[in-house]
């Protein structure tokens, strides 16, 4: 039972790392893109938000599994 809590904690941490790396990379590329081409920054922002939302979605799946583990 305690191991399930431990697994939930580890899982939450690891999913957060994954999401942080993903969103960080998107932010980096979006900033580079809009610095190179400021007139396209509107489009870049939209696509950035969409990709970030998808990554967040995957991370949230992981978090849901962790919550289920912790509430078991």
């Amino acid at each position: 039972m305690e191991l399930a809590y431990l697994a939930a904690g580890f899982g939450a941490g690891i999913t957060t790392i994954g999401a942080a790396v993903g969103i960080g990379m998107i932010g980096k590329s979006a900033m580079e893109g809009s610095a190179r081409q400021p007139e396209a920054s509107g489009d870049i922002r939209t696509s950035m938000l969409i990709s970030a939302a998808f990554i967040e979605g995957v991370a949230l799946f992981g978090q849901v599994v962790c919550i289920v583990l912790a509430l078991k």
Binding site: T46, A53, L60, F61, V64
Partner: protein, 358 residues
């Protein structure tokens, strides 16, 4: 057809309340004044909390053994009903106040301690859900009437009210609907996207108000919203969409068989992610505020009340910061839900050219 669909959407919005309230059975509500109930602040409640001014108990509707039991409040149920009682009074002696039995856990059970069949009671989330729906109606029906009369189309928009909402409406029409759905069909889906955006926005904002509750921190609400996007997507999907799901064009036949289950699962993960995303973002904001404020009490237990008083300004400032983030997240999540809905609808209704390569 269009009128019928609009009517169906409205009906879905209001009947989804049933789904909202059935979730309330999981909420463990406590009325202990000495302890701070963190979970109780996050989950649904059977009363509107206006502490320290008042606590308004909401009506209880319980369906059991083929009969609907309806009571004005939990207190009146406990005092009048000879079938149900509070979960905590099955073993213990009821607490009394002014000669009336006081609700202890707000969880209603039969006299032998078993749960009734269905608990349709109205909850705080449902009340704020209705208020947000009403607000959306009350703001946008007069607004659309103004445009029908020509104010804003043939002349300038009048007043701050119309100007504020026109910017938002035009933003959603041009930046979300047009960009993601395409110039041929976007006007048909704009009303849905507008409704979803403002409805979610109002529900999120109620969570920022004092005594308010954000209904979007309830997974049943977000599930119904995601279900409506899913329904819209499938209802208006073109032949090409189904072809891409079941028999992906332009790839070798063995790959088609691999892609079929992948695409089928993809149909359902999209609305599922939509539902979980909104719920998790709004619920985690609530939990975060409670957790940071809870540090004061942890410090009080560990190092004594002096340290807790001395450092409390740090945690209050941090809470203020989280609160501002919550305000930002309320906007972003409404925007993300709308833009992803538009994206999924756009993918489903797009007419593909058979010639262009996949």
């Amino acid at each position: 057809m269009r009128q019928l669909l609009r009517f169906l959407y409205v009906l879905l919005i209001f009947t989804s309340g049933v789904a909202v309230v059935s979730n309330s059975a999981f909420g463990a509500e406590k009325d202990n004044d000495n302890q701070i109930d963190l979970i109780g602040k996050v989950v649904d409640k059977h009363y509107l909390d206006f502490k320290p001014l008042a606590t308004i108990e909401l009506p209880r509707l319980i369906y059991d053994n083929g009969r609907l039991h309806a009571y004005r409040s939990t207190t009146s149920l406990l005092n009048k009903s000879d079938v149900f009682t509070d979960a905590r009074y099955v073993q213990a002696e009821p607490q009394m106040k002014d000669g009336k039995i006081k609700p202890a856990s707000y969880q209603i059970v039969r006299l032998d301690g078993t749960k009734p069949q269905f608990d349709f009671s109205i909850t705080a989330h449902l009340v704020f859900f209705w208020i947000a729906a009403l607000l959306t109606f009350l703001i946008f029906l007069p607004l659309s009437k103004k445009y029908r009369q020509g104010i804003g189309r043939r002349s300038e928009p009048q007043g701050a009210f119309q100007n504020v909402f026109e910017t938002l409406v035009v933003f959603i029409r041009d930046e979300i609907a047009l960009q993601n759905i395409g110039s041929q069909k976007y006007l048909f889906f704009t009303p849905y996207l507008l409704t979803v955006f403002f409805f979610i926005l109002f529900m999120n904002f109620f969570g920022l108000m004092p005594w308010g509750v954000s209904s979007t921190a309830d997974i049943t609400v977000t599930a119904v919203l995601a279900l409506m996007t899913f329904g819209t997507t499938q209802l208006f999907a073109t032949k090409d969409h189904w072809k891409h799901v079941f028999w992906f064009p332009g790839v070798p036949v063995p790959i088609k068989f691999i892609l079929m289950p992948v695409e089928l699962i993809g149909l359902f993960t999209k609305p599922f992610a939509l539902c979980i995303r909104l719920f998790a973002n709004m619920a985690s904001g609530k939990i975060l505020v409670m957790a940071i404020l809870g540090i004061i009490f942890i410090f009080s237990n560990l190092f004594g009340p002096g340290v807790a008083y001395g450092t409390s300004w740090v945690w209050v400032l941090l809470t203020l910061f989280v609160y501002l983030i919550k305000a930002l997240v309320s906007f972003i999540q409404a925007y993300v839900f709308t833009i992803l809905s538009a994206l999924f609808i756009g993918l489903a209704v797009a007419e593909h050219n058979e010639e262009h390569a996949h």
